[in-house]
Point group: D2
Chain length 339, copies 4
């Protein structure tokens, strides 16, 4: 019963590498689920330890996204809600790598030093959907360990404001490559709409990811993902927000990392204030004691921080007219959930 998702399975040449600027892959209706295939950040080209990124990846054709989608009725000033009903690895393997002068514990093109890059290396993970694990194997010893499967999307966004077009590698106010492990199934993402149709796109699936995404890559995987778009009319959202069953979350993406922290916490103070009868200073105080600050990425062109608060501490707050609970119910009723 329920709503049958629309299948979207783009050909490789249909994948896109920017937010903004392109033609829609499809027009979609609010409330109608989409079942998307998304390719991994390497375009599926890293399959063995010998597939070094510098050999097989064709920069800047990295981090492809599926989209953009024109959402009917979405206009500048609205908010696009994207409810992730399920995120499922499409293959039984995934990959990770170090790339020259990219990552959190190396100098980079922007934190520029005169040092040589770290070695380039590839790791291939086994993905066991039944067991709910991914298997890490050391390249240089016999060490292996199973880690919990915890699928997420690193990249979700809309067309940027002011006519900008941004590489899918970049996270910013339009979303993009935020690389937050919290963007998992069961979560609704809120994005401010900047252009007619919003033009959202999704990619960069991760079987799991540590905080900060140290090496610049997570457990990178193609995904089959069910997402339900909805439009909240006349409600602007300055920076991407997430909502789960238990938490409200704001994001900030910039450098230095404290400014990403400030943006996200500033947004959450304002959001909590707007949802409660707390003034700014009282909301600031409450989050000072009850707020969380999960690190997303410290490796991308902008770093991303999340500010989060448990809904238990805000008993009467209902965000965005309750769209999260509504879409969650829709997904469950339609049998589309995986979490």
């Amino acid at each position: 019963m329920g709503i049958e998702p629309v299948d979207i399975d783009p050909k490789p040449e249909q994948l896109t590498y920017t937010f903004g600027g392109g033609q829609p892959l499809a027009r979609v209706k609010p409330g109608v689920p989409l079942r998307l295939y998304t390719e991994d950040c390497f375009g599926g080209r890293i399959r063995t330890p010998d597939d070094l990124p510098s050999k097989v990846v064709n920069f800047p054709y990295v981090n492809p996204v599926t989209g953009p989608f024109y959402v009917e009725g979405a206009e500048p000033g609205d908010t696009l809600a994207l409810h992730f009903a399920s995120i499922t690895p499409a293959r039984d393997w995934a990959s990770a790598a170090t790339l020259p002068h990219f990552g959190a514990l190396t100098s980079t093109s922007h934190t520029a030093t005169l040092q040589d890059p770290l070695p380039e290396r590839v790791w291939i993970y086994d993905v066991n959907r039944e067991a709910g694990t991914v298997t890490y194997r050391a390249a240089n010893s016999d060490f292996t360990v199973d880690l919990p499967l915890d699928p997420m999307h690193g990249t979700v966004g809309v067309a940027p404001a002011h006519g900008e077009v941004r590489s899918t590698i970049v996270p910013d106010a339009h979303g993009g490559n935020m690389d937050s492990p919290l963007l998992r199934a069961g979560v609704t993402v809120y994005l401010g709409v900047n252009v007619d149709g919003a033009m959202f796109a999704i990619g960069d699936g991760h079987c799991r990811q540590g905080a900060g995404e140290l090496t610049g890559t997570a457990v990178e995987a193609a995904m089959r993902t069910v997402v339900i778009p909805e439009v909240i009319k006349g409600h602007a959202t300055p920076w991407p927000r997430f909502e789960s069953d238990t938490a409200l979350m704001s994001t900030g993406s910039t450098r230095p990392l404290e400014d990403a922290f400030r943006i996200s916490q500033h947004d959450l103070v304002g959001w909590v204030g707007a949802l409660t009868d707390l003034d700014t200073m009282d909301a600031y105080q409450l989050l000072s004691q009850a707020g969380q600050a999960p690190v997303a990425n410290v490796c991308d062109p902008n770093y991303t921080m999340v500010a989060a608060v448990d809904k238990r501490y805000l008993p009467k707050a209902t965000a965005y007219e309750g769209v999260h609970a509504h879409l969650r119910d829709t997904a469950r009723t339609a049998g589309l959930t995986s979490d």
Copy 2:
């Protein structure tokens, strides 16, 4: 049975305001538990909403610590282990405040702008040890909410290296005002010893704290704390580390926030490598997928980040000769634990 703790209950005039430079409050023996009283960061002077910090606090006499303690046998190049057996609020109230140009969401003396400060305001919390809660009350509305009691110490450290003396407000390689919510009962802190006797001190109890300590204050409280010191001879520790039953944690304290992140993650990569048969790149990869990065403070003179990894992913690793498990057992056997 077990070891009877030594009680340390300093008079107000015995409290100190620096790490390094002073005479020991007491000489203590490794393995012998101490039951300390620590005053709150305001010196206990903020008791009502009218006790604004600028009126009742006598800067720079803030953030007093109990100590320093000379630990017999501790020498430069060793590591001091401090096992926190229990941390218990000493009163049934606690306080928090905003201070002019101090905190994470305001300009400050160092992130200097020409703007006026935010309003100064005080919040008094009820502390219910039996219920395990602290009660937040909004200053400007009827909103109240109970938050879980989760006691911790913001400030733990030793005398700094190179003859330096640092204000207790500052976190750095010697520990100090790290303000991490993870420094709770059941945790062992490792600090590199820089001077004979290590000269550790503890203060700044928090009934709980959000990530980043937004307003620059947590739920500030006097504490009764049982701590067991131990010395690991000939084992240097460059930055403070924590160990719990389930996790290994490294810290970094500096600015900007990404450098605090880098220090902590860099230290954890090295630590994991030293405890396993992983080379540097393999340890880097494992933490890229399995590491956490809990934010401690984004308001103090240095910001503090923690890097953490679950011990489940490092099955054979034993840190510091197993001193954590040993002290944990000691505390349990002696009936000194509160967690």
Copy 3:
């Protein structure tokens, strides 16, 4: 005698607000001077102290540029040289302002705090081309002072790489709103070409500017500017560079400011090494003692630093096949210089 410049006097509706993405305003030939009119960053709308930006400026339609220009023969991998023969204020007045939450000594949208913005205020400057001065007049006292006229362009750039389109407010690897006072008449700017025709544009004239552009605005003015484009084939330029008769300069634009510093100095070390027989460490050492680091902006979406070295210290170095000296001669011979 010499080459007659092509006059480019765009209508207001022809001004553009992005780098990348638009149609060329004109196709131009290498070596042929252009005499451009550029509007000020406020679109000429701030003419009196009552013209507060929030009232008269229509965001995001700020910082218009004249262009883009398709330079014949310019292809990806080449470098576009733009020699500024003259930069002359077009009016006898100029303007400056403070804008809410924009500038170096205020919290901003990204260095987000909960504080109120600074007051919005406008200053109108007299521009005296004959005397070579601009007159500052305090808004709130009788203080006035003449400052030297030192015209420059804040914004010069090409279409970005990777299909991106960026607001003209943003400085980055494509140039853009670098806001360096060193970009004055007599200087040649080198920009890496990312798309066929390079698609350069110029705007944001300043009668003068202090280091960092504290308030986020300089002495903003419409300009008449003569620029000569040239193409250096097969020579890539990763970040914008400047050359004057006396100095070689590299730029870097990002956050935090030390990374902008690192990018610019790293580029200059590499450039100096490539122009001399110094290895990397020897070039690093020479710049450690002889290099300069003029601050451009500390207020825009990316901060910009310049790294500079006096040509006297590099006696045999000739950059980009001597194109600066050649264009300088061309401009002088044609009577197009103003410096």
Copy 4:
């Protein structure tokens, strides 16, 4: 005629390595010139290209200072003025080096990466006082070049506030290792007094230095320096300031670099406002167009920026009761100047 300077020529074992905490080397009277010998930052141990820092320097015994001096009459809340009458290299050679993981274009202990350090290398410079040059010689080619001699002190400070003791490597509100090329002969330094006697010390002479001190070392030299102390009673100075015949300068030392910039510019806005009839916004505007921002160091534990404004633009301003002009005259009259 005039005042005969007091000679201070400390033995190696009298050199100190901290600001704060020690006994005075001498008590001195305001207005009486001192002729100091200062050792170089390496303790004079690097004399040939084979004297690699890791071999001959005994960390943390680096960056020795001559002092501290107890200035009679200086009390907390006063300002100590130190007029540098002359700074003269004491030897005909000077040294520079790269040190592992120290410098602006390398990862460091705090900007921690997993990369190997850059090579360690030493450069010995010829110092020709008569010609006014230092001679750079490349280590790995025949390249040599004469650079202008421009002597300065990297390290000048007083005992810190709040009982702190800081390594001489650190610049902060007490001064210390600011490493600004502007601290040359003819300049007066203003330092806030934190303890009775101020306890100032001076060291780290540089024959010259580039902006940022890229490699972490300048042209390091022992110096003979004449300095005249004076006390301005009841006038606090929050951050070190400099005054030359032509400019007023404020400093800021912290990380990230934009916060050092903000501190210095914020202080200069306030200083200019206090010396003129400009309100805060008018002073902000004036410096936005007329201010400079010379980079001092981007390699030390804190980065240092200077904010400067030409006195021509502040015709009626007299700082600190005219003490700079007075001490400058005193030095000239006594024949103590070298600039």
